[in-house]
Symmetry: D3
Subunit: 242 residues, 6 copies
Amino acid sequence: MSRIDGRQADQLRPVSIERGWSKHAEGSVLVSFGDTKVLCTASFTEGVPRWRRGSGEGWVTGEYAMLPRATNTRGDRESVRGKIGGRTHEISRLIGRSLRAVVDFKALGENTIVLDCDVLQADGGTRTAAITGAYVALADAIAWGRTRKLVKGKGQPLTGTVSAVSVGIIGGVPMLDLAYEEDVRAGTDMNVVCTGDGRFIEVQGTAEGVPFARHELDALLDLAVAGCAELDTAQRAALAAD
Amino acid sequence: MSRIDGRQADQLRPVSIERGWSKHAEGSVLVSFGDTKVLCTASFTEGVPRWRRGSGEGWVTGEYAMLPRATNTRGDRESVRGKIGGRTHEISRLIGRSLRAVVDFKALGENTIVLDCDVLQADGGTRTAAITGAYVALADAIAWGRTRKLVKGKGQPLTGTVSAVSVGIIGGVPMLDLAYEEDVRAGTDMNVVCTGDGRFIEVQGTAEGVPFARHELDALLDLAVAGCAELDTAQRAALAAD
Amino acid sequence: MSRIDGRQADQLRPVSIERGWSKHAEGSVLVSFGDTKVLCTASFTEGVPRWRRGSGEGWVTGEYAMLPRATNTRGDRESVRGKIGGRTHEISRLIGRSLRAVVDFKALGENTIVLDCDVLQADGGTRTAAITGAYVALADAIAWGRTRKLVKGKGQPLTGTVSAVSVGIIGGVPMLDLAYEEDVRAGTDMNVVCTGDGRFIEVQGTAEGVPFARHELDALLDLAVAGCAELDTAQRAALAAD
Amino acid sequence: MSRIDGRQADQLRPVSIERGWSKHAEGSVLVSFGDTKVLCTASFTEGVPRWRRGSGEGWVTGEYAMLPRATNTRGDRESVRGKIGGRTHEISRLIGRSLRAVVDFKALGENTIVLDCDVLQADGGTRTAAITGAYVALADAIAWGRTRKLVKGKGQPLTGTVSAVSVGIIGGVPMLDLAYEEDVRAGTDMNVVCTGDGRFIEVQGTAEGVPFARHELDALLDLAVAGCAELDTAQRAALAAD
Amino acid sequence: MSRIDGRQADQLRPVSIERGWSKHAEGSVLVSFGDTKVLCTASFTEGVPRWRRGSGEGWVTGEYAMLPRATNTRGDRESVRGKIGGRTHEISRLIGRSLRAVVDFKALGENTIVLDCDVLQADGGTRTAAITGAYVALADAIAWGRTRKLVKGKGQPLTGTVSAVSVGIIGGVPMLDLAYEEDVRAGTDMNVVCTGDGRFIEVQGTAEGVPFARHELDALLDLAVAGCAELDTAQRAALAAD
Amino acid sequence: MSRIDGRQADQLRPVSIERGWSKHAEGSVLVSFGDTKVLCTASFTEGVPRWRRGSGEGWVTGEYAMLPRATNTRGDRESVRGKIGGRTHEISRLIGRSLRAVVDFKALGENTIVLDCDVLQADGGTRTAAITGAYVALADAIAWGRTRKLVKGKGQPLTGTVSAVSVGIIGGVPMLDLAYEEDVRAGTDMNVVCTGDGRFIEVQGTAEGVPFARHELDALLDLAVAGCAELDTAQRAALAAD
């Protein structure tokens, strides 16, 4: 069974990770998973939110948004509507949680890093591309802080690497890294966030239509773990390319 | 290793499902998982939202909220703050999605059922109790509509049953149905929504602290499936008790 | 002239005051006036709002809300609409004002008590049930604070007792404690908040349709004072039942 | 006991009712009770809100607001804060309710009149001045509609007249029409809305501090009824002065 | 070519500047440009916003709003809609910017003056009337602060005078101080804020329909400068009339 | 006097206009004025807003926003704050107004084009870059509609071309196209929107500090007209490059 873009079921779309995209941010990455393009910036600031002051620990948080015409049909701006939708909230929280899972806050010290993931063009998998790109921006922002002696703790603030990918079952076949049209047709849709050593940070699987069986879940997890390993390699290559 | 309330690792808290709690709602359930108490009401109305009119299909949606003093420390009301927080959004969406997975919208016809899940007292597992109770309220509301000939489609609008439970790893041990204090201490936390025949509607696992390995994920899924089967039995008993 | 539920014109509905309903709150009461059920929780916290700091005086405030399906037809959540309606504001302010009238803030010291009154089921008289129940929850919360030596002032923080009841004129007959269907048909509707010794804290009478004459007002006040005296007895009985 | 401005206890402040203040509105009045000045405009539009269409009946509603520097200390604009406070809501609702009590909606036909009461300068009694002025603006707007044959029903849409005044107990003495400084010192504060024939539309009495006894309530009602009768005379004089 | 009200193309409408309109504000002016009436109050408070503390410099800001029935058709209140529209924002910012241009903040010291400009009746040119009136209110508020020794800096806080006027091209003819009906018909519309010595603080010209040529722009600027000089004279006369 | 980036006073920064940047939008341009980068998308939809239906005329509107880290210091998202700031409102309105000035709405027919201008990186002149880029995106969207026969009117919907540039006086010297650091130091700042034939659509000049004289205004207008002519050439080149 061939996919709409001719890929194999277990094949990622072309991935590109372009560092240093922004003049201002301490870390910035334009990440593409096929036609999905997300601009991830990491803003490093000294100090932490009020509730964390004096703890000696830092903080990392994420915000996700889409440009109004990132999608096929223009969506209203959430700033104009005056409130953030449920989907945006969920993904922002997921991004923050995923990256915090590989940060040692003692080693980061009382510094805050905000990861802004703005989808410039959407074609499925925007949240997984966002997490994958945000990790690289985070690594750059931490390096920036270390160079300037703002990260004063001993030891490395990053305790691992993080990447994420979507998987789904279409016409009974488990597939990796769904494009938008595939996502729409998928009976089950799962987002998986992994560390570089193949453990899980987050597993979110949803039946769209028909509930899924344990063996299907297992097949999807296998695909996702393999996909994240490839993304991990791409992240390392990008970070090595100074 | 014994639990704070003396349960076994694979044991649910006492579950109670009290139907007909409300005088006004077409279906209503006060569900308890231990000290967690959620009032679930199902409101049946003829007609569907604008975007679905003329489709011949119905709609089911969920809303979740907590009373301000459901928790140990009083929280501000979201109505007073003027916006709904990310967590509330996420859970409301989860409830709606979970119940829609077992509804045949053609058979329901152009009717809408809103499931309001208001947490009166919280002690961990509020979203899983909400889903489990909301299923029973939904079944009652559909029966109400059938009796009054408002559900005109052929066939049964409910295509299955739904229940949900939390699982987590505490001190290396996978445990079922976490109370609040256990939830706080869990290194990994997972919410699982199952159908009565043991398939999955939703799997949401999150590493709180240390990423989790595949064998841990597998153990948690085993526990959750067994827990959901027990909840399914409790739901059937409650619905049989007319 | 008999009433829809067979009561006499000067008869209250069955009143129940159930203390200790909540595991978490310092005071909590589930109060029923017939089918109207309100959960009143009193949250005691040390400290006062900024504008009152250093005064040596405490603060008491109230918040009122209805669950969406407390009523016969489901209402939208105010949290979802993003703002609180005029009726909710009015009743919240009334509750706070009524209870502050019997508190000696010097004796309370710099502590704050928030009274949350959430209507679980509505059948008329929700605000008067809320005030009546909140008084008992307030008394329990103050006792809680005294036991823990958090209320350090000399003297008793409660200077009196408070209860409230609705009265109205239906078909020319003044009646006590209106149920929802009666309320809808009432030509004049009045809410009265009294102290236990028969004085007034608040009198709010409104002509719905035909303006009312002085002698009608007088008859309504007589009924209300007698009703509040009965409620005062019920409150004392509940508080005595330790 | 003399008052701060030398008035007798049962004496109104100088009242002025200036009609035709606005070039645009169908009815407009600048009303003064002493230094309290409220601009009341009545906007007549054909048609009614959606929920009333086809009923053959009209609608009347009120909105109250204060300019930011109407008071001694500047208050933030509610438009800037993004929400309307509880006090504004309460008074807007009171104004609408009070004027609807003297309107025959069948006779008005499917027309809407909005009464905007904007306080230009505040010195106590702003809501009672607003109601008193709004009645005159309403009468002018109805006359405007009748002249243009937009009010097509038979009979007179106004079934009576309305005025309002505040009363309170200061140092044990019941007083009429409190100025701001008196209001602050009042132990009990009551707003009374009367028809021209001395019946009540609204009675709102609040103990600020010490609960009030029945005989005090009676004395306040006597004062208020007399005050409203004087205001009724002033309204009639203003409306007669074409 | 004569104008709708018989004026010459280069003639202002009758201008009136009535000081001391409000009992409470430190400076207050009711300014009229023909039928346009704006109440401008200046509120003087000691202290500055947080971001300016310790600078030794003061702050001046403006807020503009319209009463709902200031215009021919009633507009919804921005407080009720829950947000401020773009036009209100723009004009508020313009007022603040225009007046700050003639204030020496060192000489003002750490004091804040808020200029509230509320349009009571609108007939074109509300923003220019607001600026012209606000200058006089500002001057009075500064004088008030100097008298009370709250303005402690050496030197005069006002470094110049400010007035503003609208100009536009109607049927090819440049005209001064447009009334509402003229404004609607203008092909080009410009608001000009000048100092008393004929220099520019703000020039905002907009083509409504047909773009305008340089020679037209020049003619409009000539008219505006002459109009502002006349307004400057009126302001001085008002301030001299103690 | 040399500029921070070595330019002459009358020299633009390098301008780039990249068409077809987005896969989804009917017109899309990534425009750069030096380090300022704005993504302009034009979304073409059939139909017009309610207030314009049946007129036979189309509509064009603009929305402007900045990514949170487009600037040197991260700014909060307006969607998170829940409201749009004054500056964003002003610029959105300016963009819409500027482009509507060259559209023949009869020729466009009942179609709507929304121009979203999202600043990806800011270094001064974001609104002028946005207008300049939006014109090209608009031209592409109109061509798209004509090709698909959705633009049915006779004649060309575009009646001219539009570009915009900032000018300012720094140290007494008028300069063209200010970068951010120059903008901060400018004593007078002006944004000028011109048609391709050198007429004005919008002129907005503001004194930041010292009011400006007529001869300075004239010099700035000369610079701006020349700058817009250069931008017009760049736009034509981009549109010719199919």
